[in-house]
Symmetry: C2
Subunit: 413 residues, 2 copies
Amino acid sequence: MIDLLPVDQARKILLQSFHPVELVEISITLALGYVLAESVVSPIDFPSFSNSSMDGFAVISSDLINATPDNPANLKIIEDIPAGYIPQKRVGIGQASRIMTGAMLPEGADCVIQVELTQELPGNSIVQCLASLKTGESIRPIGHDFHQGSRLLPAGTRLEPHHLGLLASIGLQTVRVFRKPKIALLTTGNELLPFGSHLEVGKIIDSNSIILTSLIERSGGSIIQLGISRDSEEDLRSHLDAAVKTGADMIVSSAGVSVGEYDFVRSVISQRGMIDFWRINIRPGKPFAFGNYHNIPFFGLPGNPVSSFIIFLIFVLPSIKKMCGFNDLFEKRIQAILSMSVESDGRESYLRSNATLSKTGEIHVRLTDSHQGSGNLFGLAGSNALLIVPSGVKSLPSGAQVKFILLGDLIDE
Amino acid sequence: MIDLLPVDQARKILLQSFHPVELVEISITLALGYVLAESVVSPIDFPSFSNSSMDGFAVISSDLINATPDNPANLKIIEDIPAGYIPQKRVGIGQASRIMTGAMLPEGADCVIQVELTQELPGNSIVQCLASLKTGESIRPIGHDFHQGSRLLPAGTRLEPHHLGLLASIGLQTVRVFRKPKIALLTTGNELLPFGSHLEVGKIIDSNSIILTSLIERSGGSIIQLGISRDSEEDLRSHLDAAVKTGADMIVSSAGVSVGEYDFVRSVISQRGMIDFWRINIRPGKPFAFGNYHNIPFFGLPGNPVSSFIIFLIFVLPSIKKMCGFNDLFEKRIQAILSMSVESDGRESYLRSNATLSKTGEIHVRLTDSHQGSGNLFGLAGSNALLIVPSGVKSLPSGAQVKFILLGDLIDE
């Protein structure tokens, strides 16, 4: 275990190489999932006019003192105010205006009595109010939600549906967000068959590019597909040069960095950049290299698909998020109760697991039935969680408090 | 509280109106987020050939008995086996083949010694093995991960990146998934200004359509934008008929179903379907109507944006998920510790809150600072969670075990 770099420290070092990309101004209708580059400050009070929170009648509260079903206050209806209409008449003593939810409060009125507490006398425009009200009741005054100058959303907010609704409601049409960083992806290896090929003995379908493509798209990055590089200096160089030409912000490569292959990748990259082989205290996750090519940061992920998936989550994803402008870079590590005993080898381990939700809302985690091999995509595909066994821990008993990373939805028990 | 339908019961009744849509066969490269319509069964053993899990030398374990750094076993290197290459030579006694991770195991060899446990003698094709090994060590035999006929993924699985990798790895090019259901969206009200308009006194920007559009896109549905219907029978009918012409699987409408507006919506829909006003034990979430128009299920959501958002999550989203073929229809309700005292009114309440993750992995929930009004998008936008106060509960003390629905990422404390 000596000489292995702790995960936290490796992340700290790696993240120094990344910075948010430039900002762009885009329509709110296209902004779902982008990250705000600037705080949004409200240009208006909201609501921008006092309005009713109920269907009912806008009245003067002093007209309703002591009103009850047996002793109703009878008021004259002077106007109908549907939503979107500007009231034309001032409500005076003994008067009421019929008003709909969201409609503008007429002058003179100081509260709204909901329709369920009234009774209309047919034919003569009189409404009987069956209860007394306080000033302000069922009214949303100007600025009730927020005032002009309020900071509505901080820079770094990832825009979710409800954020977009808020931005639209104050009349914004565009927002300033970080553009999507361009992530160039290549896979390497003579054994790789491109997706869509027939299987051949001794070869494998390039599943890593399918997985990494989806992960990059989900991360907020924009993908540049470089395809498969064969194991030759010339082919690797031509793939890397293609990344440079497209203006990539990051190059992600899988395989080509194990002991036997590393010299070859190192020689190609070193001619126009630099690369280091890293020894990190993480399992699975070997081998891993990081450097740059023509000053573009370069990640060399393992070839085994489970290792490559986990290294992407732990190291590449936070780097992409930093480029996207996120405040919060790291995956969440949620507490749960371990429901079986687990052995480990002392390295920080990310084990394929299932996290389930009990009827009482407790979360339980257990390893999947399939084996934990770093090439076993079946085990990964059958997981919705990665159980974290901390560095230095060789066994955990059933019932232990543990942490995990959620990969999909929790499963009901 | 009498006569209010419990949320669970309302969901059960509503879901009877929905069924999975037809299935389609699509490329795996387009299948992210779709739901499997059929289980996937493996056509092959995987790995489909025995291969090395290390860079090293394929050897015969009995050649290495008692090998140590001081007493190495010297073997003759007879072949190089890079990944993707079919070995041409059988490994005999006293022999070794250099092999890369993932490369096919040569005949004769029964284990692989990793390169770190060997030392090559320069110039004479001899490798010194510095340790003994067990049969099978560092070998992934045929079928190690799964066998032909194994069920890899059940029908109803929502396809995530790691699922797609598994499907690609077994040579599949397409999968059978449920097509996206077509969800027609309209908003109603004379007070609504379309997104992109300048604000006018007495009117509001139609933020609901921005929010509901993103929610529908996220849900797995395909959106049909019907736009804003004005408050006239003619305009509403023309919008609804447009939904019918597009072959919508569901119509979602916001506003138009409060006491004062309901008769008007009911009269239009009743001419070609039916509609009921529902009284459900949920706060916020009033008013709510459900029915059908030309046999297309119709949801009439509240006009207040927070109410509309919550009713969408609790009632519309599970219905869309059922149409999409999901096994698991409902949002997850996770346990947390309440970090403030909370008052409620006895209805089942979904309060705008923040869920935070402590350093130890515990989740804490507290209400947002902004008020809980059903029109307050600022309060919703400042939340990442909905705290659930169960029916019949009027107060919860700080420290209580509660459940919540997560709306975004947990926030670090």
